[in-house]
Symmetry: C2
Subunit: 431 residues, 2 copies
């Protein structure tokens, strides 16, 4: 059998420890599949003395994480430190510059600096891999980079954030409001103490920008992802959607069908016949539509130490086998620098929800604005008074039409004293 | 850019033509992803004069398909002839012996001769690839071979035959009987004129035996797949299953959890909360359960020229990139020769359906047999007279128990004049 692949682990949180456990538990079958053993030779983290429930004595300890890639006993560095910049980025740069491969689970770093790192990796002819950065244990980067490589991908979209999906699913099952469910999720460890990255959609946007680059062969463009989180979704929206045959899911969606690269993260109404309507709890799922393959769905655990370690070690096995091709499927110099697509001419159906004062004339004002903007209404439901005194919920589904018309209607209603909050606009994903 | 990959196509049916169309339509992006162009140099089929709706003039024509791999202008042969033996096998052998790579969509050949061919390919250090042989356009061979390579796969199962799934879905939607729906499917081209391979489960068994080998690292063992098709499923079974919260799907399932390799293709009751319950029409789906990844689902079109071509060309791109590792993930010599697992000690719930004469004592006879065999009944439904005079349908769901008990009950009832046909036993797949 060939020489072992010598691995440095940087960062020993739950994922880092998961990688150690996995390489230990499945050592024999990994060696058979990789053609050689994977050996962790050295580890590094902030606090050496912390008890992590795993025996670190077989591994060398490196205090200065940034020089891991320069060590003789290292072929590849696994970066599990986190953060788009700082030590993670410094480590990534020095590792690749030292001519060593880099595996990372760091979606923020790849979304912000993936092109720079991939370019450096090509120069040095080393692998840069980040399967674990998107959709946890689902091998979706490999699926897009290799499995569907024969296709022009028309569209890629999915449920990319387990925390949001967990919260929306619990709201659906219990009828509780967002804030309450978020608090419970935090207490159970399903949501971070500072949940903003998840619930504001940033984490999903990081992942979407990486998926889009691999799927379309375009340059990573995180900055242009139009991102809306789930904080404004009410229990009443979910109930109303259910009555109409939909669930609400935070969907990240990208395509190149318009005039540029379209990327959006937003809660959607998903029709109950669509496969993503059945993605519950912390599960992730990605749909890719290829011009020959048709629609493909990849689903599984979006986070957790086991699934994430599974993805990290799959990358290590690829490297052990000698798979060192371009990180984003094509060389960085060949990635298209597509501008962000204008969204106004996009056509679709939308769910509009208005919280209004319960007095005469309000409905006339809203419908006039919709008429003036050219929005055609398919159905309207006015729900009896909500708990909050004097407030009424009005829900409309639009016919298919340009998104610009809906935006114009919202603009016309801006500042209206009849509305107690800005209208909520959710796009609709039908089957 | 590097030299083109020179490709010979053997067999110009819909899939072969689909491969030509795909390589033409997506040539530029394929070249970027593969690092070099894919060039079809020569084609071969039985009838040169047939109009296939595609211009064959750019390609050389070879009358003797079997020598394609020996030509100077060929790096890789794509076998789309079909049949487990005959010309397809002869072509596969001569190609690999000539030191050329082989890509095939031929599940029957891989199920029967995959080990021999993979061994020869290893000797010659050439690639043998068969992504298109299982689940059409879904890159599930790659997912199992590489994407989940870090995991011990506990179980792999799925909806592997689009024809059966289409028939079952239409029966579900329309309430029509199997024979009627099969006839319609044949008329529409969704089922073959000779549908036996599909409806008897053989096609699904071919695919399952390949999936199991890749997932578990065991030797392909098609002969030991316990196979039951869908021909005995009645509209009333589907209606009864629906009333209980289940759909009926032909499931291929394999695991190594018992004392050996378990492989079975059989119609199952699938709980409506299980992801496979939403796999409708000609769609395929595969579930893999890894010891670190958890449950992963891969879903998409199971057949058709576009999806199949997508899988074939993905293999070609891998070969163009230099990916030539072991076909079944580990070298043939390291595949475990696991014996077929005994099934008697397997535990589960089952759906039992009896068609009985409508006269006193019949139910007592059945329930006595179940009691004597130690089968515990969870619920029982006796449906009013069916259309056929004097025949009554009795359905039971068992509690979880050993499969051997159910088999024993069926044996005790064997030949009973009270039963108008042997009991139908379907295993249950809960969430």
């Amino acid at each position: 059998m060939a020489e072992p692949l010598k691995i440095a682990l940087a960062g020993l949180g739950t994922v880092g420890v998961g990688v150690i456990r996995l390489i230990d538990a499945n050592a024999e079958l990994i060696a058979r599949r990789a053609g050689r053993p994977l050996h962790v030779t050295v580890v590094s983290a902030r606090d050496r003395s912390k008890n992590r429930g795993v025996d670190l004595s077989p591994y060398a300890w490196e205090d200065d994480m940034v020089i891991l890639g320069e060590r003789e006993d290292v072929d590849v560095v696994v970066e599990m430190v986190g953060g788009s910049d700082g030590p993670a980025l410094a480590l990534a740069r020095t590792t690749i510059e030292a001519g060593k491969a880099l595996v990372t689970a760091n979606k923020a770093m790849i979304a912000h600096h993936g092109l720079e790192l991939a370019g450096k990796a090509e120069d040095k002819k080393v692998a840069l891999k980040f399967e674990a950065a998107v959709a946890g244990g689902i091998p979706v980067i490999k699926a897009l980079r290799e499995g569907t490589a024969a296709n022009r991908i028309e569209r890629v979209y999915g449920v990319l954030n387990g925390t949001c999906n967990y919260i929306l699913t619990v709201m659906e099952d219990t009828g509780r409001e967002f804030g309450v469910v978020l608090g419970e999720a935090q207490a159970k460890g399903y949501a971070e103490a500072d949940p903003a990255f998840d619930i504001e959609g940033t984490d999903a946007a990081h992942k979407l920008s990486i998926l889009a680059a691999v799927a379309f062969g375009t340059r990573v463009d995180f900055a242009s992802v139009a991102t809306t989180g789930i904080t404004r979704v009410r229990a009443a929206d979910i109930a109303q959607a259910a009555a109409l045959g939909y669930v609400i899911r935070l969907i990240g969606m990208a395509d190149t069908g318009g005039d540029g690269l379209f990327q959006r993260v937003q809660p959607h109404l998903v029709h109950c016949d669509h496969p993503l309507a059945h993605v519950d709890g912390a599960t992730n799922a990605v749909v890719a539509e290829g011009n020959f393959s048709g629609r493909l769905l990849f689903q599984g655990a979006g986070a957790g130490d086991g699934p994430t370690a599974s993805a990290v070690v799959a990358d290590l096995i690829d490297i052990a086998r000698g798979e060192t091709g371009p990180a984003f499927s094509v060389p960085v110099s060949e990635l298209e620098p597509l501008a962000a697509a204008p969204t106004g001419h996009r056509r679709g159906r939308a769910y509009l929800r208005f919280m209004v004062a319960d007095r005469p004339g309000v409905l006339a004002e809203i419908t006039a604005a919709l008429r003036d903007a050219g929005v055609s209404i398919e159905s309207m439901i006015q729900k009896g008074r909500a708990d909050t005194a004097g407030e009424v919920m009005v829900v409309m589904l639009t016919h298919e039409g340009p998104e610009s018309a809906v935006s114009e209607a919202v603009r016309l209603l801006d500042g209206s004293p009849s509305l107690s909050e800005p209208p909520l606009v959710l796009h609709i994903l039908d089957n």
